[in-house]
Subunit: 302 residues, 2 copies
């Protein structure tokens, strides 16, 4: 039995449109509605027939839904939920895909005091944005972390979990606060660092921007992919998961100072030991199917 | 006319073996000899018939060569050059592929006072190592930076440049010191940061190693690729290009502190502006053919 029959997607960007495509592929009988605050995005969604019905208001999108998923920047969740509160069916389950769970749960609960809320976070994405960037297999073999609230009924949690399994994801349950600390290190800190280094490189005076771009294959280009991620989404993530991000950043800075000192004082053994340890982490990620074993991410060489 | 007829490759790892394969593909009449200090690597090179002759000593590898290329960690160049000094033909051109040019040029000149030396650096690679990791197209459409010494004859520089063009690279000439500053930012700093963050993540107590690996698709996994690069090679790079690396690191740390402060004080506009700027850098890299336009590096999604 399908976990849901009528799914409303609020926010039709990379993730929302990937969910829509995934539902079409894996649960073709589900009736899909969608809404996006951006008129151009709605027009594109209509044109590419992303969902059965693109609504002109969030209320119209959800009025008949049994699952409503917010796929918008985490800073916009509360206001978006408040906007459709009056049209939300009493038995609908409300979920989201935000990268910060504690604050989003709080915002959703405040906007929808009586709703059944089961937040979730599919750990998947690309650096591209918009309704045309999504694809059905984005969640295959990726983890989706479901972070129930204290009052989320077990049956509702299971339905959301099953929804994500149908989209190809593996599901894990986690407390929102722990999620926010795990993601601070596996996702938020890497993005912050990538944005920073790309900014540093493009601000140099003696090394020109054109040199930075020409010789980026030496490593820099890997960082630019992440640093091309959606600016609004990531601004919101850092401001929302502020404490955990700043704490991880502090640890990173300490480690960087330590390494910097090892370089200054020529401590080759310390460098070698760290570099051997980090190589093993990569091996684990590949072994556990979280990245390709192919060299250079399998980038095409010719 | 071929730029060289008898090429000796000293060091048969990723880069050396890629050069061997590239020569076979693009200049099949060239006679190729090779040497590696590691007996196992020599045995593998024999088995896979990487070159025409795997020599048992560096001297035997170069005795008849008109081009000798050192493809070994930058800290090992001086000693390796000294070891074959007596067997180096007087008219051979000596080159290398090291990631730091000023110090390597100094070490090669000291070991080989009378030789014609034309250092070069192909800005290409993968995170894998060893003679079986190489492939002929590694240098296609990549840049190779040739950094002549004050006494490098123009004709020798042109032959080395032509050699790299035949391997598919685009060639640029640069002063060694400028090279070292450009690469400090486009290659050395990114590696240093990737090694650091992978170390930071694997040292956390409350977030387990297994969680870091499971949820690495949120961004972290991109860094682990670079942090899986050869430990000896990179230890040598940081110790050799120490001053430039430490200076770039200092700039990066300042920028990171600035961003950290913006997060702490909720300055969303500053974050948004930076993230918009960095997105444009990515666009330039893709436009200039230095990375794939495909989402997520073109990683296979199913």
């Amino acid at each position: 039995m399908l976990p849901f029959a009528r799914v409303a997607i609020v926010g039709l960007g990379l993730i929302g449109s990937s969910i829509a495509r995934g539902v079409r592929a894996a649960m073709p009988t589900v009736r899909l509605t969608g809404y996006d605050a951006d008129l151009d995005v709605r027009a594109t969604a209509e044109r590419i027939e992303l969902v059965d019905d693109v609504a002109d208001t969030p209320g119209a999108a959800v009025i008949d839904a049994d699952l409503v998923i917010f796929c918008i920047p985490v800073g916009a969740m509360g206001a978006a939920a408040a906007e459709l509160a009056h049209d939300l069916p009493a038995d609908a389950i409300v979920s989201d895909v935000g990268s910060c769970k504690a604050e989003v749960a709080r915002a959703l609960r405040e906007a929808l005091p009586a709703a059944t809320i089961v937040p979730a976070h599919p750990v998947a994405g690309t650096e591209q944005s918009g309704p045309e960037a999504g694809f059905a297999s984005l969640f295959h073999h990726r983890w989706c972390i479901v972070t129930p609230l204290a009052d989320s009924p077990g049956a509702a949690v299971e339905r959301v979990a099953e929804f994500w399994r149908r989209l190809g994801a593996q599901v894990e349950l986690m407390a929102p606060e722990h999620h926010d600390r795990v993601l601070a290190v596996t996702s938020h800190l890497p993005h912050l660092i990538a944005y920073t280094i790309v900014g540093t490189a493009s601000d140099l005076e003696e090394v020109t921007r054109s040199e930075v771009i020409k010789y980026s294959a030496g490593g820099f280009r890997d960082f630019t992919r992440i640093a091309a991620s959606d600016p609004t989404m990531w601004r919101d993530v850092f401001l929302t998961n502020r404490e955990a991000v700043l704490e991880m950043l502090q640890r990173f800075s300490e480690d960087l100072s330590h390494l910097s000192r090892a370089i200054r004082w020529g401590k080759g053994d310390e460098l070698f030991d760290l570099f051997t340890r980090t190589r093993a982490v990569r091996r684990s990620i590949v072994e556990q199917g979280q990245d390709s074993a192919a060299a250079d991410f399998g980038r095409a060489h010719d």
